[in-house]
Amino acid sequence: MTFRKYLVLAGVALFGSVGDSLLSRGMKEIGNISVAHLQAVILAVRNPWVVGGIVLLLAFFAAYMTALSWADLTYVLPATSIGYVLLALIAKFILHEQVTAGRWLGILLITAGVGFVAGGPALTPIAAHENLADHEPEVASIRGES
């Protein structure tokens, strides 16, 4: 794991949580969308908060795909769940939502989980082997099976 790779993981957590917060803020401005008027969701794209949220979620997706290209799924998911903690902090200090004792306990558990997995290897041997292998035969065999 290089410093750049940790930066990508931080990007996954940061872009995801800030993007969600912007979307949430934008959708609250727009108000409830009834099931009978689902097309109203298209108008939401004119809201600058929603646009910002979408841009950040695209960045999140790019960072997530990059991380999955060199790390296991079971590493990336817990390691980037620190984003849930960021989301709670944004909710409390910027959106001024109530953060209850139960939620702080949740934050504590997530932080413990992140610490647990971040100390281990990012890529396990079998997945690493697949990464190096020539993929053509594998793809062919998958097509043959299905």
């Binding site: 999955l68 290209s69 296991d72 079971t74 997530i110 647990f116 396990t124 697949e130 990464n131």
Partner: protein, 126 residues
Amino acid sequence: MKHAYTWGAIAVIVTASVTGDVLLSRAMKQVGDVGELWRHRGMLTVIGRILRHPYFVLGMAAMAVAFFSLLFGLSWGDVSLVAPASASLTFVGNAAAANLLRHERVDQRRWIAAALVACGVALLAA
């Protein structure tokens, strides 16, 4: 009846997002280290390789199913049930699926991490 619909939606969300994550992870492992590819072949090659990968397309389709099931689930049940239940079950489901299908070595450390995060997410969204 509404209760059954809500849990049905949660089951679909969890199944679809676990399927999507496993497929996307598999696609990206086969595409290779994006940072390296970018440096040697350029951005367009990387994006083209990802978008043309069949597992990537299937993974995106599964993610779309998960997203719309979430919208349906939210219209039937409370957000405080649907969001934490689906997020925490997805964490545990992903650990199991990665172990069985992706052959990632999900050791004790990762199981504990998945369980801690799942409990944390459930508490956070409660």
